[in-house]
């Protein structure tokens, strides 16, 4: 993602888990199961928290300030965390772009 597209996508984009991905919420993590290859992935924080927000349908502009508050970082740093996480998950086929509703 370019900085411009990051800026645009972070304002309006929503990402959702792909249909073949199942997850279970644990006390300190989220466990993902990819039904296409039966591989599991354990997400610790902050990624577990970002996943939880995605599954609730939060858009990026809602997630960024939440990450910022919880991790006591500014919103640029929070945006970097979020973008890196979303990039990794997009490449791994865990998520795709959802409806662009705010």
């Amino acid at each position: 993602m370019t900085r411009d597209s990051e800026q645009n996508s972070s304002n309006v984009s929503r990402f959702l888990p792909n249909p073949h991905i199942a997850w279970a919420i644990e006390i300190d993590s989220v466990i993902l199961i990819n039904h296409e290859n039966d591989k599991t992935l354990t997400l610790k924080y902050p990624q577990a928290m970002i996943w939880d927000f995605l599954t609730r349908g939060y858009t990026n502009d809602r997630i960024v300030p939440l990450v910022s508050i919880i991790y006591s970082c500014n919103e640029n740093e929070s945006l970097d965390i979020l973008n890196k996480t979303l990039n990794d998950w997009l490449k791994a086929g865990l998520i795709s772009v959802g409806n662009n509703h705010g």
């Binding site: 991905i21 279970a24 919420i25 644990e26």
Partner: protein
């Protein structure tokens, strides 16, 4: 131990029944195992050095060749335990009455319809009177309100076996059966521990099936608790269930995840290995969020409960959207 289900036919409709998952995905009303398949199943078990077999259904005594099936087992060095609701045809009851020795025994599962229907009670009484100590009582716990004490009366009045088998009604993954949700386990455990003390006084042994977990019981130092604890925690592994159509599953709750044909040459150990490989992906999920912090789990005393119940915690976007 392995299970052979010889028919999907049943004369009761228990909401928690997990064997109906077979009929659901086979899209057939009734399947009866044919004689050749039964022979093939027995050969597979002998090759696997399994000498104890449980006969399941539906209601296995309703199979049209039930008496021949019993004969086929008695010809081999295999002991048989028949899981039944007790509402068996007279031909089946007479066959079982005449078998001498202890190679064949009967597990009568007390279903929810018991006690509420006098005619049903009369038929069960006949079975108890005819078979006596060959009968072990069983009960599937499908709700926290299930009652246990009447089983002690039945054992005493009809001189039945001094064992009671207790099982939890587990969910079938992708199935529709009613099941006991793990949120109810502590209530079940509390009442069960009380019953365990009554059973101990009556010299009746409780045998717990898979899926019971230590944390469901209030911890105390009673003998009843220690005995119950010895039966819990670790058992969630492929049972090997042979279905009426000759397919084999790990267990009914996980039937829709993976199925194999009866192998031509390999044995049950090989088959269990295949099921373990297939199901390994799901072992990271436990029945509760808190399992990762539980001392029973940390100490290796508990493996995290029924895998099917654990998988019910999984969410997917198409269901949660």
């Amino acid at each position: 131990m392995a299970n052979i289900s010889i028919t999907t036919k049943c004369n009761q409709r228990c909401d928690y029944c997990f064997t109906k998952i077979v009929s659901e995905f086979q899209d057939k009303a009734v399947i009866n195992m044919n004689k050749d398949l039964f022979k093939k199943s027995l050969e597979f078990l002998e090759r696997s050095h399994i000498s104890h077999v449980r006969l399941l259904g539906g209601e296995p005594t309703l199979h049209p060749y039930f008496t021949s099936i019993i004969d086929a087992v008695l010809c081999r060095k295999i002991n048989l335990l028949i899981f039944t609701n007790g509402l068996m045809p007279k031909t089946a009851l007479r066959k079982l009455e005449r078998i001498e020795g202890d190679r064949v025994s009967v597990m009568v599962n007390i279903t929810p319809a018991f006690k509420s229907l006098p005619a049903l009670n009369k038929r069960l009484r006949n079975v108890f009177l005819s078979l006596g100590a060959k009968v072990t009582l069983g009960l599937n716990i499908y709700s926290p309100g299930v009652k246990y004490e009447h089983m002690l009366d039945l054992i005493y009045n009809y001189k039945l076996s001094n064992d009671i088998r207790l099982g939890l009604a587990h969910p079938c993954v992708y199935g529709t059966n009613d099941y006991l949700h793990p949120r109810h386990y502590p209530e079940v455990g509390r009442r069960l521990l009380g019953f365990a003390e009554s059973a101990k006084l009556a010299k009746v042994n409780l045998k717990l099936d898979c899926g019971f977990v230590p944390c469901m019981f209030p911890e105390d130092n009673s003998e009843a608790f220690k005995e119950v604890l010895a039966n819990t925690g670790k058992r969630c592994n492929p049972i090997i269930d042979v279905l009426p159509d000759g397919n084999v599953i790990s267990c009914y709750p996980l039937a829709r995840l993976h199925m194999e044909a009866i192998p031509a040459k390999e044995d049950a150990t090989w088959l269990r290995g295949k099921f373990e490989d297939r199901l390994r992906f799901a072992r990271s999920i436990k029945i509760y969020k808190k399992c990762g912090y539980c001392h029973w789990f940390a100490d290796g005393f508990c493996s995290g409960g029924c895998l099917a119940a654990s998988m019910m915690r999984l969410r997917q976007m198409r269901n949660s959207a």
